[in-house]
Amino acid sequence: MSAEQDPINRFSLSFPGLPANVSFARATVAAFAAQVDQFTLEDLEDIRIAVSEAVSNAVIHAYPQSVGPVEVEVALFPDRLEIKVVDHGRGIPDVEQAKTPTFTTLPGERMGLGLTFVQTYMDEVTISSRPGMGTTVWMVKKLPGTLANGGGGIGTAVGRPAP
């Protein structure tokens, strides 16, 4: 991964985990991502869904009894858009289990598909969590048509000149 280069552009957003802020968060990330000409409307839709799922999880799972802070950090690189959704809530005891389709700890009307959608719609996803400390969902959407898209591994990154 070419994580050490400087991003072309970036932003960070923080807000209280209120249900009304889920649409605000996805609209903000989509407005930022729209600066990337290479993204298709479907890419933007994928990003909207992934952000919506990760932020919804922070709102309902991370802070089940209260309204806690949620942070969204987005960085645009020449070959990819990186999005991080961070909470400081309850944490996930077993991340592998949480990622399983239909697994949910809140049966009712939750489908257990949020993290599945995140993984389906984004190109790379890493979820790190510490019980009692919070959760970070880190996800990447590659820019269509860039060298690194479709499998350029570490070799590609090393070979790329700094911007």
Partner: protein
């Protein structure tokens, strides 16, 4: 963030028609749920739900969950749920989630009603 711009409810025989406009997510799903529950609560004759999503531009797993929840409610009464007006991005999510295994689709309200009158559930 007016993400559910409109929600309208109408009744025809044993069919409840709900039209949504805007975005169906964590914030708006409870409004959809409450509107349906309020309407069917004292109307046990309402058997089927037709859900018009023509004006819905965004759905995520919270929105799907609310639709599945309504399916369960109507299934308990022995009824069915038909969705009309699916936008391509929403259709994609329905496919991915397997919601089509329980929720039927039609191309118009007339077709939805004809199906429900016919009484035959689609092949699953």
């Amino acid at each position: 963030m007016h993400d559910l711009k409109d929600l309208s409810v109408s009744i025809e025989g044993d069919v409840l028609l709900v039209r949504l406009e805007g975005e169906l997510d964590l914030n708006t799903a409870p409004k959809f749920r409450a509107a349906v529950e309020e309407t069917i609560g004292r109307r046990p004759h309402l058997l089927h739900l037709v859900l018009d999503l023509t004006g819905v531009t965004f759905v995520d797993s919270s929105g799907l969950g609310a639709i599945l929840g309504r399916y369960r409610q109507f299934a308990e009464r022995g009824g069915r749920v038909v969705v009309i007006g699916l936008q391509p991005s929403v259709r994609r999510l329905f496919e991915l989630s397997g919601l089509f295994r329980v929720v039927e689709t039609a191309t118009s309200y007339a077709e939805a009603k004809a199906r429900l009158k016919g009484g035959a559930a689609v092949e699953r």
